[in-house]
């Protein structure tokens, strides 16, 4: 098992290098740069001399391979540089937003797991009954509803019915838990619902497949009670694909809630990503892509560990 995990671990590095190279090239293919954007404001008439000086200050006048080399060497020292837009260290820009994004991702995952696994199992156990149909309708609606749209509906309902709007400024949980929950519960529900729909359908189909397996029939034949059959034999085996879906969705939520964060005005990584792209803040975009790629890679690695724990065939390979 250790050899398997070590191989998986080593694979992280070429993946990250590929991501770094691709990001660096792609962002520079898009027309316009941070200097142009920063100084083409409402007057739109800044002299070429100012623009050239600024480009030189950011090193944008150097050959691309030199820019890439400097950046990669910086990453190797865990130095992501400074934001080209604000001049602040990248880690500072990200640290501020990471806590919020992580909390929303965790809360949405809790909502998703709390809904998807019990309902998915229930739908499988009550296949083709009204309960199954209700769960399937609920999950299809979740898949068909974009979370940002649901967020807008939440906001409008809160405004129209309760004349109340969630707080617009993030308060960390340890500062004021109630204020924190008041702000983040709505995006967590909006995102968690769509997320749960994916998990619900996956749980249902995996459970249906597992429940037809010989070893389940054997367990039942041995006289095991239904609860034990389900918990020990069926659910554990059905969890493999469900775990994959949940883990990948969780990784996606760290930087992928672009529109939902705009709807709720959440100062998270998704919004930062959009702003960084809009500003052509190369250093920040590169750092964010690396962060999200890093999260995906780590989650994938943990999933591999999870697979090994859940499936002995992988463990003993």
């Amino acid at each position: 098992m250790w050899k398997y995990l070590f191989k998986r671990f080593l694979l992280m590095f070429p993946t990250l290098f590929g991501v770094a190279l691709l990001t660096f090239v792609l962002i520079r293919v898009i027309p316009g740069d941070v200097v142009e954007l920063r100084y083409s404001g409402d007057r739109g008439a800044v002299s070429q001399e100012v623009l050239d000086k600024e480009r030189a200050r950011f090193g944008l006048d150097r050959p691309l391979w030199k820019q890439f080399g400097t950046w990669v060497l910086g990453i190797a020292r865990l130095d992501f540089g400074e934001s080209m837009w604000t001049g602040a260290p990248i880690w500072q820009e990200i640290r501020l937003r990471f806590a919020l994004s992580l909390q929303v991702a965790i809360m949405a995952t809790v909502v998703a797991v709390a809904l998807s696994i019990p309902l998915g199992v229930l739908a499988a156990l009550k296949q083709d009954t009204w309960i199954d149909y209700a769960v399937r309708i609920f999950s299809i609606a979740g898949l068909a509803t974009p979370s940002f749209w649901l967020g807008i509906v939440f906001i409008l309902l809160l405004l129209i019915v309760f004349h109340w709007l969630p707080p617009m400024v993030y308060t960390p949980f340890w500062v004021d838990p109630w204020e924190n929950i008041k702000q983040l519960i709505w995006p967590a529900l909006a995102v968690g619902y769509r997320y749960s729909a994916v998990g619900m359908r996956m749980t249902r189909s995996a459970m249906l497949e597992v429940l037809r397996e010989d070893y389940i029939r054997t367990a039942r034949a041995k006289g095991l009670v239904q609860r034990l059959v389900l918990a020990r034999h069926a659910l554990k085996n059905a969890m493999l694909p469900v775990l994959t879906v949940i883990a990948l969705e969780f990784a996606f939520l760290i930087g992928g809630l672009v529109v939902t964060e705009q709807v709720f005005n959440l100062n998270g990584l998704g919004l930062l990503f959009v702003q960084a792209v809009a500003h052509r803040d190369y250093t920040l975009i590169q750092a964010l892509v690396m962060l999200v790629a890093g999260v995906f890679i780590i989650v994938n690695f943990l999933m591999d560990v999870g697979y090994a724990w859940l499936d002995p065939r992988i463990r003993y390979r």
């Binding site: 405004l159 993030y170 709807v263």
Partner: protein, 530 residues
């Protein structure tokens, strides 16, 4: 469908009518925190080197300027003293002497003197190596800034400059502490320390900015507020929701007409609306080196095709434009009188006659019926997209077939600079309504002369209007300038003046709209009625 809209518009009119006299008559009340939305965020903290209102809105309350634009002047064109108590100009207009207020303190407790004003202006006009100053060109006429004693500042000029006082009231020219600038001219890029009505509280990037009342502010009794909180919200729907849910009281840039109507409908008499022509404008640039736009008959025809008055009625319902104006914001001192305006090509009310003339000009210039070209527009919803669609429709009426191409925001200016267009949407936005500032881009040598016209008459008129100190004479030159720019040569085509709409909670008092979203942001006069 139309009834709610009519109701909303009726409510807007009532609220506008009710809000302004009430604001003027009420007695200011102290206390409370003003919460407002800022759709952008400061890249750095140094206004001398920034261009975005995202710097001005949250940070202007920390600073003072030598002069400021009168916060009670709706035209936003009257300079009054801020740190300057009084001033005099020499008869030849070459020397301006400013007497500073005594007892003004920086937020660190040190006294503000003329050395600080001199150091700040030296940084703006002659920045040290490695320091940017985006508006230094505005002070080309200034030879020196002197501080003969601790409360006197003298500006010496090479030639008389009619716009000097307004240039010194620029909302960007914050007065910094000389000692700090001398030690590190970059210090203000990352720190805040001024003499303004509010001290710096905190800035959480991407989230909010907090200011706290400065108890040592020179204007005793002000500010009225205990503090303010600026919340950064980029999405316009979230901005509207913030005001509607009363999480924020005001947004100082502008909302669109539908957003205004939505807020008025939802909040009724809890909201007041202030509106003003806006010192921002979209105009059409035509590449003078590309055929057939090198022919002034073609350019004039394109302007003659526009029914600006009907366009104003339709577009002002859906986007941020309204007034038909000339080279200065309607209602301001150098604005074109309506009777004069109607004489310009494309500004007359008889649209059938205008379009017949346009067709004649196109025929005379040898442009075939159905001639097609590409109009490059900036990919921003308001007001670029509706304006672009309107323009294309108007040009269709004179037999032109125009294809619109949207250019992504960051690629837009490089496209204009490269001259990679035949006809393109251009824009400008001023921070004070002043001909020198608004018209500089039309001088042949300007970096922003994207249409690449060469016109020595325009250049000469620009200099003459800038250097005359006689207001009537200046108006006369400006009318000639306007006729040449928009009619005789039709170097550019003005569309409609932007229209600024600020709906705010009715409890916000003491703030008056001006034509510029860069003005009136010090918040010293603002108070909350409840």
């Amino acid at each position: 469908m139309q009834r709610p809209l009519a109701r909303a518009l009726g409510a807007v009119l009532i609220v506008i009518a009710a809000a302004i006299p009430a604001g003027a008559q009420d007695k200011p009340r102290s206390g409370g925190e003003l919460v407002f939305v800022v759709p952008s965020e400061p890249p750095s903290y140094d206004a001398h080197q920034e261009e975005t209102f995202g710097v001005i809105h949250p940070m202007a309350p920390h600073y003072s300027t030598l002069l400021r634009v009168d916060p009670t002047d709706k035209t936003g064109t009257k300079p009054v003293g801020d740190l300057a108590e009084s001033w005099t100009a020499s008869k030849d207009g070459l020397t301006y002497t400013f007497k500073l207020r005594k007892g003004v303190k920086f937020h660190d407790g040190s006294e503000m003197t003329s050395k600080d004003v001199k150091a700040s202006y030296d940084k703006i006009i002659k920045p040290p190596a490695g320091v940017k100053s985006l508006r230094k060109d505005m002070y080309d006429s200034v030879t020196s800034v002197e501080a003969p004693d601790s409360n006197t500042v003298v500006f010496k000029l090479k030639w008389p400059e009619s716009s000097l006082l307004l240039a010194l009231a620029s909302p960007w020219n914050w007065i910094y502490k000389a000692e700090i600038i001398a030690k590190d001219p970059h210090w203000y890029e990352t720190h805040v320390m001024g003499t303004g009505p509010f001290k710096f509280g905190e800035h959480v990037k991407g989230s909010h900015w907090v200011g706290k009342k400065n108890p040592d502010y020179w204007d005793k009794g002000k500010p009225y507020l205990d503090g303010y909180r600026a919340i950064f919200i980029s999405a316009s729907a979230a901005q509207v929701a913030a005001v509607r849910g009363e999480r924020a009281m005001i947004q100082f840039r502008s909302f669109s007409p539908p957003e205004r109507d939505q807020l008025v409908q939802a909040l009724g008499n809890k909201i007041a609306v202030q509106e003003s022509p806006w010192d921002c404008l979209n105009f059409v640039s035509m590449h003078h080196e590309k055929k057939p736009f090198d022919d002034k008959r073609v350019r004039r025809a394109l302007s003659l095709a526009l029914d600006r008055y009907e366009g104003s009625k339709a577009l002002s319902r859906i986007t941020l434009v309204k007034d038909v104006g000339g080279i200065q914001v309607p209602g301001t001192p150098y604005a074109t009188p309506p009777a004069e305006l109607e004489k310009l090509a494309g500004y007359g009310h008889d649209i059938a006659k205008n379009r017949a003339e346009a067709k004649r000009l196109l025929k005379e210039a040898g442009v075939p019926d159905g001639f097609s070209f590409t109009f490059k527009n900036r990919g921003i919803p308001h007001p670029y997209e509706p304006l672009g669609i309107w323009l294309i429709d108007q040009w269709r009426h004179i037999g032109l077939s125009v294809k619109q191409e949207f250019i992504e925001a960051s690629a837009y200016h490089p496209m204009l600079k490269r001259g990679d267009f035949e006809v393109a949407m251009d824009f400008q936005c001023g921070f004070i309504v002043e001909p020198d500032l608004d018209l500089a881009r039309f001088v042949s040598t300007s970096d922003a002369n994207y249409g690449r016209h060469k016109d020595t008459a325009i250049d000469d008129m620009y200099i003459r209007q800038a250097r005359t100190t006689d207001i009537e004479e200046r108006k006369k030159i400006l009318r000639q300038f306007e006729k040449r720019l928009l009619d005789d040569e039709a170097h550019v085509i003005y569309t409609l003046q932007w229209h600024r709409i600020i709906p705010h909670l009715a409890k916000v008092k003491g703030w008056m709209i001006t034509p510029s979203h860069y003005l009136n942001n010090q918040l010293d006069t603002v108070w909350l009625s409840e």
